[in-house]
Symmetry: C2
Subunit: 289 residues, 2 copies
């Protein structure tokens, strides 16, 4: 499919530049290992789908936004898996980066992927300064302090974290950035598309919480039962399993309803419906369908 090719091709090119001759070989290899083979690539797909809905008049800028977001997502997984956080031995069905390459290279791989994401976006300034400025603002806000991914992760170290704030920062922010940047990269209005990303992000986090409670490590490709082990907020703990599944359904419904009228709205709705089927463990998927 064209969208997947665009994403994988651009990621391959970016990592090729980063790991070119003369680069320290283990770090270059660890970055590739962290990005390939990918997970569902749901964030960059969402970004490109929104860009398509807005006319996709500057595909290179949209692709840059999509892969910047995926690089930042992969970076966050590498750092989250570190011994001082989740101490996860597996990710995407293979040893996590620090287990495969050691902790120093894992810390550096995360750092280098954050830098690479901004580098990729910076390359669009010359061609599209206004859009690039907005993209960099949205993306840095979604990852940094005070409300981005790192803030979300930091709430895990706070005794009085509020579930909604925590999830909004840790998962919602990058989903919101995916839809906002998709719009901006194609000359659309970010504010019209923010709610779609927010709701999907929240839905994804609730699904992840459900998986963590009822899923198996084999099916997830990463350890489960982590939230209880680390005493982390989890939607099933708050709402019960049935309540969490109901909440998830409502979020997905709200997400689809928030799509602004646009030529690509029907395609986008279909993409969300098909992708969101993967959100739940097989045994619960039917009840949420």
């Amino acid at each position: 499919m064209k969208m997947e090719k665009r994403i994988e091709g651009a990621l391959t090119a970016a990592l090729g530049r980063a790991g070119q001759k003369g680069a320290p070989p283990q770090l270059a290899e660890a970055m590739r290992y962290a990005v390939f083979p990918g997970g569902a690539r749901i964030r960059p797909k969402l970004c490109l789908a929104v860009a398509a809905s807005c006319g996709d008049d500057d595909p290179k800028t949209a692709t840059a936004a999509a892969i910047a977001i995926e690089l930042l997502h992969c970076a966050s997984l590498v750092h989250d898996d570190l011994p001082c956080f989740d101490d996860a031995a597996t990710r995407r069905g293979k040893p996590s980066v620090h287990c495969a390459f050691g902790e120093p290279i894992a810390v550096l791989a995360g750092d280098a992927m954050i830098v690479l994401a901004f580098e990729v976006l910076s390359h669009r300034i010359a061609q599209a300064p206004e859009r690039a400025a907005a993209l960099l603002r949205i993306v840095s806000g979604s990852v940094g302090m005070p409300f981005g991914i790192v803030a979300g992760q930091a709430w895990e170290s706070e005794p009085d974290a509020i579930l909604a704030d925590y999830q909004r920062a840790k998962t919602g922010s990058l989903f919101a950035a995916a839809t906002e940047t998709g719009a901006v990269a194609a000359g659309g209005d970010a504010t019209l598309w923010r709610m779609l990303g927010e709701r999907l992000g929240e839905a994804y986090q609730v699904a992840d919480d459900i998986h963590d409670v009822v899923g198996s490590a084999a099916a997830m490709g990463k350890p489960t039962g982590q939230d209880a082990s680390f005493n982390r907020p989890n939607a099933v703990m708050y709402h019960g399993l049935e309540g969490a599944v109901k909440h998830l359904k409502q979020l997905l419904h709200d997400a689809v309803e928030s799509i602004p009228p646009s030529p690509g709205a029907a395609t986008l709705r279909k993409l969300i419906e098909s992708e969101s089927k993967r959100f739940l463990p097989a045994e619960l998927a039917q009840s949420a369908a």
Copy 2:
């Protein structure tokens, strides 16, 4: 002094935005702790001094470049001090960030400062798109893969690291970025100013190696004898103490000689001469003066 005020003021403002109400408080505090009180601020001073030499016609852009570089430097110190790298208990005469706030917050503080550096630069795109594009390119190159700080740090994990490549990436790259961005921010030509940064960076690294061998932890505000403990390349090991001091003198000489003719050249030469006096332990300073 005006230059110091500009740097401290802009750092305070950036960290204020990052740590605003609603941010996770420990991470916000750790970021401030990592940046204040600062070390010599040699990189941002160098950046502003070069900008001054080039006319400083856009002070806000020059200041953004200077503090972006300082934030990236501070981020690299926080990550370098982590248990998986240097496991340093002290930095700038106080407990290192992971000792004061724990390892999770230290990892996140480094990540958040990297993001903040790019955010600060991004804010200049609207006003100065061409300069901002060049600044982002230079800065991301100096920190990321294949030749920036993270690459330098990764060479420590490689069995066949070459001393010059390692030092060029780990220390030289950010010094070179300081002079290049200072020039670019003021409309100057980066290539004319690169050698000054490279030579100063190399000199600074040689001085650091000398300190690590003959300095005291109290005077340095951080542990010494680290290179031997970690079996890391060190210029004293390669050249002997006397040879290293001679090499340092030559590098500082070459640095000053490389300053292009410009209205501020004399001031810049004086700044380098006064700052570089701090490069050596007191007992060696005279022989290198």
